[in-house]
């Protein structure tokens, strides 16, 4: 069946929803829940193995395990929303899944403007602030010539 939403767009908003803070999503809670829906997979907490590559291209190794919460909802009109997020916040997972379902519907533009764009810019601001803070602590190491030869 044809998927009405391109993958890249949906990946973007699912990522934004997963990185959002719970309090930011709860501002939209009333609007998100204002619809008939059922939980296909009630919010549940599990573990996933994180793998990494040394330097980004070495042999894969296991970094460790992290907790993950996931949820799947279906609205009365058949749209399904999925969420996977780091941490153990079930309310956040349910709201993010609801938002994903809403975003696939006819009012996608409304939801993008109301929810995704503000969240994405807040996340960009936080990231820029953190990067600036981190950059200020950068130390340049250098070695004096010791005259060994």
């Amino acid at each position: 069946m044809h998927n009405p939403v391109p993958h890249a767009e949906r990946q973007h908003w699912i990522g934004v929803l997963a990185r959002a803070r719970r309090s930011e999503l709860q501002a939209h809670e009333a609007a998100l829940r204002d619809v008939e829906y059922q939980l296909i997979r009630a919010p549940e907490i599990g573990m996933t193995l994180v793998r990494g590559r040394m330097g980004g291209n070495g042999a894969p190794f296991n970094v460790g395990e992290m907790s993950v919460t996931r949820c799947v909802v279906r609205l009365a009109d058949g749209r399904t929303g999925y969420s996977y997020l780091a941490g153990r916040d079930k309310v956040h997972a349910e709201l993010a899944a609801l938002a994903d379902a809403h975003l696939q519907g006819p009012r996608q533009r409304h939801w993008l403007e109301q929810v995704i764009t503000p969240l994405a810019s807040a996340q960009a601001d936080r990231r820029a602030l953190k990067e600036a803070d981190t950059a200020a602590t950068k130390v340049e190491f250098f070695t004096l010539v010791r005259g060994e030869n």
């Binding site: 069946m1 059922q38 296909i40 997979r41 009630a42 279906r74 399904t80």
Partner: protein, 196 residues
């Protein structure tokens, strides 16, 4: 997309699958005794007990073989989503198999395990219309004090088919399900052929 076909499964995934697992253990420990699973979800084409066993037993490590009568998009989508089990088309690689009464006369191909690892055999989940009304047979063996009278509505040829594939410790373990009920038939049970 199969998302339209998905339905909720267990209301309480942890406790409900533990209940299903417990019922399966008791069914194999007391062959021929009916175990009842309350409050289990149903899926069109699967009895509640069958679905509960699937949800409790299947996961990503257990390839499942589906009989043609169960091979519907609805069942495939929901088992893949809730259990995450791979579905296999050849019987040799299956760890579990879902059968109806019609498939019982041909159990060829299913893994019986080997002498070193008899536990690697394929476990058969057999869905029947009910667990009564067939020929009354006497079941004996481990877990049965004297004998249990069980009247499963299965074709006579099934018992010979099972016997041929039963070379202890190798063999096939079966669960029979109907509605909310299930009965276990481990490979160690001996079925008296004479009418009781």
């Amino acid at each position: 997309m199969s998302a339209q076909l998905l339905q909720p499964a267990f209301a309480d995934p942890v406790l409900d699958s533990q209940r299903g697992f417990r019922a399966a253990m008791k069914a194999l420990a007391g062959p021929g005794l009916v175990q009842t699973l309350q409050a289990t979800p149903s899926l069109e084409g699967l009895a509640p007990a069958t679905y509960a066993l699937c949800l409790a037993l299947l996961d990503v490590d257990t390839p499942l073989w589906l009989a043609p009568s169960f091979d519907t998009p609805l069942i495939r989508a929901n088992l893949a989503f809730h259990c995450g089990c791979p579905l296999t088309a050849d019987r040799e690689t299956a760890r579990f198999a879902l059968l109806g009464a019609d498939e019982l006369l041909d159990l060829s191909g299913f893994d019986h395990g080997n002498d070193r690892y008899p536990d690697q055999s394929c476990t058969l989940l057999v869905q029947l219309p009910n667990l009564n009304g067939g020929k009354r047979l006497s079941w004996r063996g481990p877990g049965i004090e004297t004998g249990h009278q069980v009247a499963l509505p299965v074709a006579d040829g099934f018992w010979g088919e099972r016997e041929r594939r039963n070379e202890f410790p190798r063999g096939l373990d079966l669960f029979f399900t109907a509605g909310h009920d299930l009965i276990g038939l481990p490979r160690s049970s001996r079925i008296a052929q004479e009418r009781v």
